[in-house]
């Protein structure tokens, strides 16, 4: 088999694999993404609990995570139904 033909077969196989993967994920993409988001929301609450006056024994450890999650903070608090940042000393928008 010539190299160009082999490449063609390879490309086709790769495409078949992507399609199969899509076929597996597409129907439940929404449901899985939503479930993951719910988990993440809970995690956000853990990380920012102390800031909102909810005592959290793990606050010392989660403090480190705050800068990492800051980018998603706005999205999170709006989803939780709070138009602005709920914290006086922690401005968001």
């Amino acid at each position: 088999m010539s190299p160009s033909r082999l490449d063609g077969v390879r490309a086709r196989l790769a495409r078949a694999r992507t399609l199969l993967g899509e076929f597996y994920t597409a129907p439940y993409r929404g449901a899985v993404a939503r479930a993951r988001r719910d988990e993440d929301d809970l995690f956000m609450l853990f990380v920012f609990a102390e800031l909102m006056g909810v005592p959290n024994p793990a606050a010392y450890y989660t403090l480190e995570l705050q800068p990492l999650l800051l980018e998603r903070f706005h999205e999170w608090h709006t989803r939780m139904g709070l138009e602005h940042s709920p914290l006086d000393h922690f401005r968001c928008c």
């Binding site: 076929f23 129907p27 439940y28």
Partner: protein, 564 residues
């Protein structure tokens, strides 16, 4: 003149191809004004969660697998009592002119309505009171269907039918869960898992034959199935539903493909007569044949169940014909196979007559499924697959269909309960365990409660068929109203709508009269509610037409939602 089943099947398939190429294209261009350049919801609202443009073949596969359940095999297996010709004609012509038009139309209206399913669009039209009533009816019907499925699976597992299917069917649940974990947590390649999964599924059929499971009674099987439904409804989707659906669709393709290859190789002759207008104890063929064969020819549930997620992922409007119209033709192919299996899959005319001696003999769900399995096994035998293995394999596919419907429907019921809880302001109902519990209790009622020595679900089964067809009529009504307000030709959706509404309302009023005469109040009440709801919706639609005639202002192609 005797017609060979092979020739008949070829004519039908030619009709499907011609319909897809000519009629569906005409509908796309002239009626639904499909424009591949118009952005679909998947493009406009892309959020990587619900709205994601997907490949058309992926969507076709998903749509096909989600509309095809047990029902395309059930209906034809009863209806062939009138001979093979009427059943075949209705399966093919019904799909071409009613069912596929219905699915296509529902999908088009969906993509013009921000990807909402046709059910949601209609809810928006009828207001909150109608919406709750509508939800109640849907809840009732899905619970009814699932109660019947639980019963049918339990019957199939019983020693008289296919106890050898128990082990493979049960094991497939665990294979699926293992696959779910491997993909979701382990990030394994789906391709290698697929090959392994299918190999295990086939291998299990061999193990099942050696190890038939005969212990549990009918009631015990039902309890186990209910427990399974509850578990499947509360577990995360990636663990069970997703891999199960996936394996199941692959089994469906392999199964249907093998059946057709076997059929062609067998080249059988019809054991059934072409037409028998008055079999013993049967109701009149018109309009009953149109209700007995629901899925496979036309089904209203498609508009409610499948259009939502498909419409949100369609990459261009141009794909709608392939996914909407094409998938229904695919389902109809399975309906056609059921007709062939139950008429040409018998060894002789005598064997067929023995099975279809009277309506009472034909009208039992367990026997119907068994007739389908036996017929297709007969075709597979020609391919060199021994009867025991072929039978087990088909039985496993059938059970796996029913189980997949059961687990996704229980989850659907759970969401339904939560939504009703939202409307009524009862927070407890949004708890997944409470909502799943209610769903399972409803299914239990139809699978266990007996009226006059017969299970409630089985008595009401015909109601499911009629309502399914009624929903198809109502969905076509919604599509027709959509077209009316856009100045498009109406006859292609209006004619099948009138046909579906007339035939189902006739059957329903016949049923109502029967229930009334026999004093079966338990059956009369739900049937009457559904009948009234249908008539009410038809009146609402008529009012909408009158309003439009008085003030004929055309809308744009997009559906505008009424604000709360």
């Amino acid at each position: 003149m005797t017609m060979s089943p092979l020739l008949a099947a070829l004519i039908c398939i030619a009709a499907y191809v011609a319909a897809y190429r000519v009629y569906a294209r005409f509908l796309a261009e002239r009626v639904f004004a499909i424009d591949p350049a118009r952005p679909t919801p998947a493009v406009r609202f892309r959020d990587e969660i619900d709205y994601v443009p997907a490949n058309r073949y992926v969507l076709f596969g998903h749509q096909y697998a989600s509309i095809t359940g047990l029902s395309p095999m059930l209906g034809p297996a009863i209806a062939v009592i009138w001979g093979w010709l009427p059943a075949m004609l209705w399966v093919v012509l019904g799909a071409i002119f009613v069912g596929a038009v219905h699915d296509f139309g529902a999908l088009v209206v969906s993509i013009r309505a921000r990807g909402m399913s046709l059910g949601k669009v209609t809810e928006n039209l009828v207001g909150p009171r109608g919406k709750t009533l509508f939800h109640l009816v849907i809840f009732f019907l899905i619970a009814l269907a699932m109660g019947v499925f639980v019963h049918v699976i339990a019957v199939l597992f019983s020693p008289d039918f296919y106890p050898q299917a128990v082990l493979p069917s049960g094991a497939l649940v665990f294979v699926a869960a293992a696959m779910g974990v491997a993909v979701h947590r382990g990030g394994w390649s789906i391709r290698s898992l697929t090959i392994a999964g299918l190999a295990v599924a086939l291998g299990l059929a061999f193990v099942g034959i050696r190890q038939p499971v005969v212990g549990p009674s009918l009631a015990q099987w039902k309890w186990l199935l209910l427990a399974y439904a509850f578990g499947a409804s509360v577990l995360p989707v990636w663990l069970l539903l997703q891999p199960r659906d996936y394996i199941n669709s692959l089994l469906l393709y392999v199964g249907v493909g093998a059946m057709y290859v076997g059929f062609v190789a067998t080249n059988p002759s019809f054991a059934a007569p072409a037409v028998d207008l008055a079999p013993e104890g049967a109701p009149p063929i018109v309009p009953f044949v149109f209700v007995v064969i629901a899925c496979g020819a036309a089904s209203g549930f498609h508009a409610l169940m499948s259009s939502g997620s498909t419409a949100k992922q369609l990459a261009t409007e141009g794909d709608a014909r392939f996914v909407g119209y094409g998938a229904m033709i695919g389902e109809s192919l399975l309906g056609l196979m059921a007709v062939l299996a139950c008429t040409a899959g018998f060894v002789s005319r005598e064997a067929w007559l023995e099975r279809y001696v009277s309506w009472q003999a034909a009208d039992s769900l367990g026997n119907n499924i068994a007739a389908f399995i036996r017929g297709t096994t007969h075709f597979l035998q020609t391919l060199g697959i021994p009867e025991a293995i072929g039978g087990t394999f088909v039985a496993v596919i059938v059970v796996s269909f029913a189980l997949t419907s059961l687990d996704s429907a229980t989850r659907l019921l759970r969401y339904n309960v939560s939504e009703m809880g939202d409307t009524l302001g009862v927070d407890a109902l949004s708890n997944r365990y409470v909502a799943s519990g209610i769903a399972v209790v409803a299914i239990w009622a139809f699978a266990f409660i007996q009226v006059d020595g017969e299970f409630a679900g089985l008595i009401l089964w015909q109601l499911f068929g009629t309502t399914n067809q009624l929903l198809a009529g109502l969905a076509l009504l919604a599509v027709t109203l959509y077209l009316l307000r856009r100045g498009k030709p109406l006859v292609y959706t209006a004619a099948p709508m009138v046909f579906m509404l007339l035939s189902t309302l006739t059957v329903m009023s016949a049923n109502l009269t029967d229930f009334w005469k026999a004093g079966q109040w338990l059956l009369l009440a739900p049937a009457a509610i559904i009948f009234t709801l249908a008539v009410w919706l038809v009146i609402e639609a008529a009012l909408a037409v009158i309003r439009f005639r008085r003030n004929p202002v055309l809308d744009g192609l997009e559906v505008v939602f009424r604000e709360k």
